[in-house]
């Protein structure tokens, strides 16, 4: 008797759980279908295309197997694109994260004009990347504001020591083009990262700071021993978003150096390379192969980062 009741209860619980699950699935069905068709579906379709010589109007022309990938991996320009990407990610990501964190810690203080500073630091992020890149090109042009100002304040000897001309063509010279774009993007994106870090900072409980204060921690110690480690989920999120953004660099490179990644491939990026393969060489199978390689790289990078920062804090 008792056993039968328990069984009935268990059955009804199971039914309830199933109904609940069904409701859940019903709710996510529409976005899930869109996700599967538009995101996952297109990845698989691109994989399929990447095995062919593909005509955009008439479809497959002839089967190339992995030869698109072989050509790609042996193309010196693609190697340059990858090298540029790695350099860009290695410099830009830590730089921008550091600036973002610095700004977040500052505007998280109870200071006068807090809202103003938050808005001001975020401001470059709301301008369109095309507009702000054009602005930057004018600023760092040979006869632009930057070169004029450094001449006026008499710091040109320092620049000369590092081998820069008084009218250095920052975006137009192969040795400085990519660094110019790094500085531009560090400036425009640090506001966004500040916002992410700010959200993270505010989730740290006040009691921890109070405890640290009672223990006599200095501000410096509090930052490095309390704030920084507790921001780990924030670091993970920001770093992931940053690395993906870095590997997908396109607009600034395209506007700064045109489709050729000029000067001399200094601004060639994998996405620009893909764009050229598709729209200048009309080699769509090959372009799809570039896309798949880029996807694999980003996916791997994200997994590695998850390993590095992703686990919950161990205390």
């Amino acid at each position: 008797m008792v056993g039968a009741t328990t069984a009935r209860v268990r059955r009804s619980q199971a039914t309830e759980r199933r109904t609940e699950a069904l409701h859940g699935y019903a709710f996510i069905a529409v976005p899930m279908v869109l996700f599967l068709v538009l995101n996952i579906g297109s990845v698989f379709y691109a994989m399929f295309i990447s095995l062919w010589k593909w005509n955009v109007r008439s479809g497959p022309v002839d089967f190339r197997g992995l030869r698109n990938y072989e050509t790609l991996l042996s193309d010196p320009i693609f190697h340059i694109a990858i090298r540029n990407s790695i350099y860009y990610a290695a410099v830009w990501v830590p730089l921008t994260m550091a600036i973002g964190l610095f700004l977040a810690v500052i505007v998280n203080q109870k200071i006068r004009g807090q809202t103003f500073f938050r808005a001001a630091f975020y401001f470059p992020a709301i301008a369109s990347s095309a507009a702000i890149t054009m602005l930057w090109i004018f600023l760092v042009a040979p006869d632009g504001l930057f070169n004029t100002v450094r001449a006026a304040i008499g710091v040109n000897p320092i620049f000369a020591f590092f081998g820069f001309d008084p009218n250095q063509n920052w975006i137009g010279h192969q040795s400085t083009a990519l660094n110019s774009i790094i500085i531009l993007n560090a400036w425009t994106t640090s506001g966004t990262f500040m916002l992410f870090y700010l959200a993270s900072l505010q989730s740290i409980s006040r009691e921890i700071y109070e405890a640290a204060a009672i223990d006599g921690a200095t501000a410096w110690q509090t930052f490095w021993k309390v704030t920084f480690p507790l921001l780990r989920p924030g670091h993970y999120f920001v770093a992931t978003v940053a690395v993906i953004g870095a590997l997908q660099l396109f607009d600034q490179a395209y506007i700064g150096g045109g489709p050729d990644g000029a000067p001399n491939n200094a601004l060639m990026t994998p996405v620009l390379y893909l764009y050229n393969a598709a729209f200048s060489q009309f080699n769509f199978g090959y372009a799809a192969a570039v896309g798949i390689v880029l996807f694999a790289v980003i996916f791997t990078a994200t997994l590695v980062q998850r390993r590095l920062f992703g686990q919950a804090p161990s205390w």
Binding site: V56, R57, N167, Q174, D260, P263, Q281
Partner: protein
């Protein structure tokens, strides 16, 4: 099935893009040209055709739009039974058109830049016109070969006719240059005398690529390809010497890139009095009139080099019919009017470009540039994969300039490899 779904997606994307552009049908404007009485249709057949055709292209300036509207009004008067929908495309024209090709929803008649004409022919985006030409008896003998040859496929068929053209010539500041040079040696002597004067950043504005460099290469007797077009000729001694000569202009401070002067292009450098001599085409005229009306300049032919004969390069754009066009008959009537003597006369009077055929009068002020049409060699689209060749040359050339090594060897080697790769594909 799956492909069709993607095609539909492409169509949706192109619709979105098209919606961003302003679709405009030709509407009467003041001064709209009416066709001269007596200009009858070439044969009876085209006037018997009725229906509609869409026409697309990019629109680089207001004056271009106005000139085309006037031309289309002329067409409408002559062929009242064919309705033309003019839909200029906004944004990156090549990219937008590719979404249209993939969805097989193309305009009936559209612009094709010489730069990618060969690729579009190879991809099967364009319809061959030979049957229409034969049927309508369209006279193609008047087109300048430097323009028309680009729109022929490997199969020998014609895939478009040049809607107009432009040649490269030397534009010089008349205040600084009383007598323009006629030879390359004269150009160097003049540049040396101008160097360091009048606050010029350099006497000549030069591009670090083949888009202008090709004219110098040809002028000095060099070439990219052998005469049969089957193998490279950049590694010959003459070609190498020509590349070195071009590099030396930079090395000796006689030439400088627009970018290094902080200008967007050489026209801007001429306008800002940064240089006295530039090599450009007819597009300079509306720009200077608009941006720098006070800077006085004049045109002269590209100076003659060691090749001994007048040389220049030309750029062109065709009108072509889409392979998937549903109104090919109507589109061909429109094409033959626009690239015929009447339509091209009205169009080129707008001052945007030069006639691409010999029986159209030269627009005023374009004598020097138009004279080049007769002997100009194509500046793009004359070989498959030329975009990659240009890139290889420009990358290597830039590396030589910026590394201050100024050696033609590396430039020639990189260009040679790119040409061989392009020819083998």
């Amino acid at each position: 099935m799956q492909r069709r779904r993607w095609a539909a997606l492409g169509a949706a994307a192109s619709l979105l893009l098209a919606a961003c552009g302003t679709a405009a049908s030709p509407t009467p404007t003041a001064g709209g040209a009416t066709p001269a009485p007596g200009t009858a249709a070439p044969t009876a057949a085209p006037t018997a055709i009725s229906g509609s055709a869409t026409l697309s292209g990019w629109r680089s300036s207001t004056s271009e739009g106005e000139a085309l509207t006037r031309t289309l009004l002329g067409f409408q008067a002559q062929y009242p039974d064919i309705k033309v929908d003019y839909e200029p495309l906004a944004g990156d024209y090549r990219t937008v058109m590719i979404t249209k090709f993939s969805s097989r929803e193309v305009p009936d008649l559209f612009y094709v830049n010489a730069e990618y004409a060969q690729e579009w022919i190879d991809q099967g985006f364009l319809a061959p016109l030979d049957d229409y030409i034969a049927q309508a008896g369209f006279d193609t003998s008047q087109f300048f070969p430097g323009y028309a040859s680009i729109f022929k496929g490997k199969d020998g068929k014609t895939y478009g006719f040049p809607k107009d053209g432009n040649t490269i010539a030397l534009a010089y500041n008349t205040g600084l240059v009383p007598t323009p040079p006629t030879t390359m040696d004269g150009l160097v002597t003049l540049a040396e005398s101008l160097k360091g004067t009048n606050d010029l950043k350099a006497p000549i504005c030069l591009n670090p690529g083949l888009d202008r460099g090709l004219a110098f290469l040809y002028a000095q007797g060099g070439s990219l390809l052998t005469d049969d077009g089957k193998s490279e000729a950049i590694s010959t001694d003459t070609s190498k010497a020509a590349v070195q000569w071009y590099l030396d202009l930079f090395k000796n401070g006689l030439g400088m890139t627009a970018s290094d002067m902080g200008s967007g292009w050489c026209g801007e450098a001429l306008g800002k009095n940064q240089v006295a001599l530039i090599f450009e085409g007819g597009w300079l005229d509306p720009y200077m009139g608009d941006q720098f009306p006070d800077v006085k300049y004049a045109w002269t032919a590209v100076p003659t080099g060691s090749s001994g004969s007048p040389v220049t390069i030309s750029y062109t754009v065709s009108y072509s019919i889409g392979a998937d066009s549903k109104n090919k008959d109507q589109a061909f009537v429109l094409l033959s009017y626009l690239t015929g003597p009447d339509g091209m006369k009205t169009w080129t009077e707008g001052g945007v470009a030069l006639p691409s055929r010999g029986d159209v009068p030269i627009p005023s002020g374009k004598d020097v540039l138009a004279a080049g049409s007769a002997y100009a060699r194509p500046g793009s689209g004359f070989m498959p994969g030329y975009v990659d060749v240009q890139k290889a040359f420009q990358d290597a050339f830039t590396a030589q300039l910026q590394g201050k090594t100024f050696s033609a060897d590396a430039v020639v080697a990189a260009t040679k490899a790119a040409i061989e790769k392009a020819l083998s594909q």
